[in-house]
């Protein structure tokens, strides 16, 4: 563990905290452009966070301490996820902990807490949202694991840093299995980040909500943390996708020059990814909630296909 490593790790984390709302703002802006609307400013998520942090918290009568703790747990989990995923460099002190399976666990922990908190106040919408979130989650998690297994078999390791090192820093090889895994990962990311076609982050119809229904009772700094955590989650998923499927440009160990070059490249890649997300959200309608299992089932099947392709075609016996 070097000083440079620790500094690099801190830098990546701070960058994630700062960039995540910007990514959300960028997606919103692209979406508005694609829909012929005039877009909100790119900085809108920061204004929103600023506003929410300056507002008083209003707690429901029946709220227990779980309800108050949950935003911090969720925010902590998402910040940790952003730190684990190598976005700029593979030289991370957290790298030994940066196991992709642990990452799924971190996302699961956040989901558990936000769903419990949603049910804690006892409103109909909270339970409704929590229930639907669990439905989506328990279908999305296995698909995500399958994607990770496919990629991990290439690197012979479930460490994200090792995967990036294998894919980006060795001879360039085309892996057909990654194409399947990539599509599956995109589908899982849409579901996990409460995006169209599974959920609609812009809706005001409380009966159709999934993510928004769970956080209806939150206000003030609690809501700010949850909004920020949602941005971080999108950022973490984006970085994870980039690490698995477009890892070129992520710096190697002890290479400060490459680290400096990695930042603009990351921003460029995120901008392209954000635009594509907005495009997907614009051309699709939200599916009926009972189609979500089919959607995520397809993602799972694709991930399994990727795994089989890897096992049967790419492994030399």
């Amino acid at each position: 563990m070097s000083v440079a490593g620790i500094l690099g790790q801190l830098f990546a984390l701070v960058l994630a905290l700062l960039l995540a709302p910007l990514l959300t703002g960028w997606v919103n802006q692209c979406r508005a452009w694609l829909q012929n609307r005039s877009a909100p400013p790119l900085w809108q998520p920061y204004y929103t966070l600023h506003k929410l942090f300056n507002k008083d918290v209003v707690l429901a009568d029946g709220a227990s301490s779980l309800f108050r703790v949950a935003p911090f747990v969720v925010f902590g989990a998402m910040a940790l996820a952003c730190a684990i995923v190598p976005s700029l460099s593979t030289d991370l002190p957290f790298a030994p902990a940066a196991d992709a399976l642990a990452l799924v666990g971190v996302f699961g922990l956040a989901r558990l807490f936000i769903s419990l908190a949603a049910m804690d106040v006892g409103t109909a919408f909270g339970s409704l949202g929590g229930r639907r979130e669990m439905l989506v989650g328990f279908l999305a998690e296995p698909a995500l694991l399958m994607v990770i297994f496919t990629v991990a078999m290439i690197a012979n390791s479930t460490s994200v840093a090792a995967i990036v090192a294998t894919l980006a820093h060795r001879d360039f090889v085309i892996y057909p299995s990654l194409a399947f895994a990539g599509v599956a990962f995109t589908m899982v990311s849409l579901a996990e980040n409460a995006r169209v076609p599974v959920d609609n982050p812009a809706t005001h119809l409380e009966l159709t909500m999934i993510h928004e229904a769970m956080i209806l009772e939150y206000s003030g700094r609690h809501l700010a943390l949850i909004e920020w955590a949602a941005s971080l989650k999108l950022y973490a998923y984006s970085c994870l996708g980039l690490a698995f499927f477009f890892p070129w440009g992520i710096a190697e160990r002890d290479n400060l020059l490459a680290l400096a070059a990695a930042v603009p490249l990351l921003i460029l890649k995120l901008a392209i990814g954000g635009f594509l997300l907005a495009l997907i959200e614009t051309v699709n309608a939200k599916m009926r909630i009972f189609r979500a299992p089919e959607f995520l089932g397809t993602a799972f099947m694709l991930a399994v296909l990727g795994l089989l392709v890897r096992l049967l075609l790419e492994t030399r016996v």
Binding site: A124, F125, T203, H204
Partner: protein, 520 residues
């Protein structure tokens, strides 16, 4: 003349140029019941129901029922004694009567014999036993306005639970409470509670002059202001024996069709948005905005409020604006056709629309539905179009309106009917604009003491009915505006029964019923 051979009630046609109406008087409650049964047998419907207090004139109470028949409307009156004002329950024949009857009790205090005596419009804003529409009601008594209990029907069983929604919603919409009984996501039962927008329009109209009445009626439900204004004008004209000029009638049709298109454009956009296709919302609202701006240019108001007045119309568009309007009709027609192709080809959107919130023609008849909701089940009922035995009032008789129907009865059908009606109304607008007959804009309406009239207009949502009675001084003694939402709200409860909770907003939007219009 008798409308039904076996019910000896003598009806006489209402004079004037409005939709055909026959007036009659039931001798007693049994005769009313017999007539209602005959209407139901013939496939007719309940169009409106209201009560009034005539004790000041030395009479008792009075119940007015309007039934929709194939050939027109039958306006039947039942007089009730002052000391024992009870009339037979009509809800067994017409389920839509249930809420109207309860509202009649809340406002006038005359009771029906049915078992459902829960209040409907009274939410604790005034005490039980005080009736705002009685002549001796006076100022509302001192009363603590507390939340009142309401007996929702309970659904029991393994895993069944309730989801209460509203009256305050996450979006900016009108207030209404929806009580869902569900198992998981499946809706077992929906019960609505409305009345949060009750503002006492009827009481406010009492004693007003004819011009003030027009303004008030035009504000019962803002999205249908032109339909209400026309129905009111038709009622007053029938009462006072005034016939508006052909030019005024053509301009009224022009205004009404413009209102229809404006609302359909908005609804089509909102339906896309409720399925998270925000593209549709942006496009249709752009068109709607262009449309209402043109309305403002033509008639001086974006929603054309107060453009239709008793005796004729208030404004006349100049020839240049009319030419611009025809041009805009062509442009918007092209764009809507393009958007329809996109909606029809969008698999995700069609998956949400098809089979969602389906009702059939039998249910539409049972609940006395009119308008889009009825036509989307295949019921051919449009007050502007010819049908067996029915001649539409001028100027529609000459225009030859082709009513839009669809037999599927689901959200997709209501979307398709809206698209078809937009194209048909665009055609009507072009025809009206090029063939505006000559004539005066507005004729003087001199109030006739004790005169009465009923106006019926096919608004964009359905049939708007307005009944008017004048007093000795020619002021309004009783005015009742009836919104088609009265009949459609209960049908909506049935439309969601086969569906899941997250589909309700889409189904609700596909009906797009008025809260304000039925809370009056």
């Amino acid at each position: 003349m008798f409308l039904f051979d076996d019910v000896p009630i003598d009806f006489s046609p209402q004079p004037g140029l409005g939709a055909p109406v026959w007036r009659g008087r039931a001798a007693d409650g049994d005769e009313l019941k017999d007539f209602a049964a005959a209407v139901q047998q013939s496939g007719g419907r309940l169009a409106a129901l209201w009560g009034s207090d005539r004790r000041q004139e030395g009479q008792g109470f009075q119940l007015d029922c309007v039934f929709g028949l194939d050939r027109g409307h039958a306006w039947l009156r039942l007089e009730l004694p002052a000391d024992d004002a009870v009339y037979p329950d009509l809800s067994a024949k017409f389920p839509a009567a249930n809420r109207m009857q309860r509202a009649v009790y809340d406002l006038v205090g005359i009771r029906h014999t049915g078992s459902d005596q829960r209040p409907w419009l009274r939410h604790g804003g005034w005490p039980a036993g005080w009736f705002p529409l009685r002549h001796d009601a006076g100022a509302p008594p001192e009363h603590a306005n507390l939340p009142s209990d309401y007996d929702f029907v309970k659904v029991g069983g393994e895993g069944a639970h309730e989801i209460p929604v509203g009256p305050i919603h996450a979006g900016i919409i009108e207030p209404g409470h929806f009580r869902f009984s569900v198992v998981g996501e499946r809706v077992l039962r929906l019960e609505q509670r409305l009345g949060y927008q009750h503002k006492g329009v009827e009481q406010r109209c009492t004693g007003a002059d004819i011009a003030t009445g027009a303004k008030l009626v035009g504000r019962v439900s803002g999205d249908s202001t032109c339909a209400y204004a026309w129905a009111y004008a038709a009622a007053v004209e029938a009462a006072c024996g005034v016939e508006p000029s052909p030019r005024a009638l053509a301009l009224r049709a022009l205004i009404l069709e413009r209102e229809r298109i404006a609302n359909h454009l908005g609804d089509l956009g909102m339906l896309g948005n409720d399925a998270a296709l925000a593209f549709g919302l942006a496009q249709f609202f752009r068109l709607k905005e262009d449309w209402v701006r043109m309305s403002a240019e033509l008639f001086g108001h974006r929603f054309m409020m107060d453009s239709i007045v008793p005796g004729g119309v208030a404004h006349e568009p100049d020839a240049r604006a009319l030419a611009a309007m025809v041009e805009q009709c062509d442009a918007i027609g092209r764009e809507v056709a393009e958007l329809r192709a996109i909606y029809d080809a969008h698999a995700g959107l069609q998956d949400r629309f098809l089979t969602t919130g389906a009702i059939d023609a039998a249910l539409a008849r049972e609940f006395s539905l009119t308008g889009i909701a009825a036509r989307a089940t295949g019921v051919l009922l449009d007050g502007r179009a010819y049908r067996q035995g029915y001649t539409p009032p001028p100027p529609y008789a000459k225009l030859g309106v082709r009513p839009a129907t669809d037999e599927r009865g689901d959200v997709a059908a209501r979307v398709a009917v809206r698209f078809d009606e937009v194209f048909e109304s665009l055609r009507l607008l072009r025809e009206l604009a090029v063939g505006l007959p000559a004539g005066e804009l507005r004729r003087e309406v001199a109030p006739v003491p004790y005169a009465e009239g009923l106006g019926v207009v096919e608004g964009w949502r359905g049939e708007v009915v307005v009944g008017v009675r004048l007093d000795a001084a020619g002021r309004i003694a009783r005015l009742h505006p009836h919104d088609p939402s009265w009949q459609a709200w209960p049908a909506l409860e049935h439309a969601v029964m086969q569906d899941i909770v997250p589909d309700f907003p889409l189904i609700n939007k596909s009906f797009n019923l008025s809260y304000s219009g039925q809370d009056i």
